[in-house]
């Protein structure tokens, strides 16, 4: 039986600017102290996204660490259905990661627009990590 070993969450509602087609970190988890040598981490993220001019889709990713250079733990697919430039939509994603012998781990939710010539914004977002 898998048991919850740790639970961390963060939520913000300060705008994070999405500069045209650059990937930006919307929110990061607090530091998680990995409770044993091998841990599974279920990560889910949610964001309200206001797209910029000419945006055709966006991609929401969950990455290890605090930057856009961290390893991606979900698939990072573009979402275009129902999306219109300069409108507000919501996105949700989940990832499952396993880390070995990492005592301190952290995850970030990132967003990148495609086709945008204008800046967008992440209006509010949240991220939850469950270690088991």
């Amino acid at each position: 039986v898998a048991r919850v070993l740790a639970f961390e969450a963060n939520a913000v509602f300060q705008d994070v600017t999405l500069v045209t087609t650059s990937e930006a970190v919307a929110i990061s988890t607090p530091l998680i102290i990995s409770p044993r040598g091998i841990s599974n981490f279920l990560v889910f993220g949610w964001a309200i996204i206001q797209t910029g001019a000419n945006a055709t889709s966006y991609t929401v990713k969950i990455r290890r660490g605090l930057t856009v250079a961290g390893s991606i733990i979900n698939q990072g697919n573009q979402e275009a259905d129902g999306l219109a430039a300069a409108k507000t939509s919501e996105a949700f994603c989940m990832g499952l990661d396993q880390q070995l012998n990492e005592s301190r781990v952290q995850y970030s939710l990132t967003v990148v627009q495609q086709g945008a010539t204008g800046n967008g914004a992440v209006k509010e977002s949240a991220i939850v990590v469950i270690a088991f």
């Binding site: 919850v4 740790a6 969450a9 939520a11 607090p30 949610w46 309200i48 999306l83 507000t88 509010e124």
Partner: protein
Amino acid sequence: MPEVRSIEANVSATDVPLVTTAETVIVSSPLVTMEEQTQQFLIIGWAQVTTGANATSITAKLRRGTTTSGTLVNEANAVADGIAAAKTSDVLVMALESQANLAAAQYSLTITQAGASGNGNVLQAGIVVIAL
């Protein structure tokens, strides 16, 4: 490291009408007993909404208490992408906040239509409160 101290949830499986542009409580959590003087609460709300005639967006809010006058704990952004009048879509919202010196906390999910001249309907909804 935060741990899950308690979890409460509630769902609404009966239709809740949305009278044109009036904010409506869709579902409220049970009381969540506080075990510490100060605790964090992660609140997750979800609803499946059929919008009324001429609706252009919907706003999901998480509020303290059981009425539309409770303190807002998320940012309440209007979501317009994918929203069309008289169509059914789903909305997810999350928030994290601290409360102190209470016997118990309680939260509600509310929905407001914008631009609607006809009534909408919330077909089903759920709210989860996780006390950390």
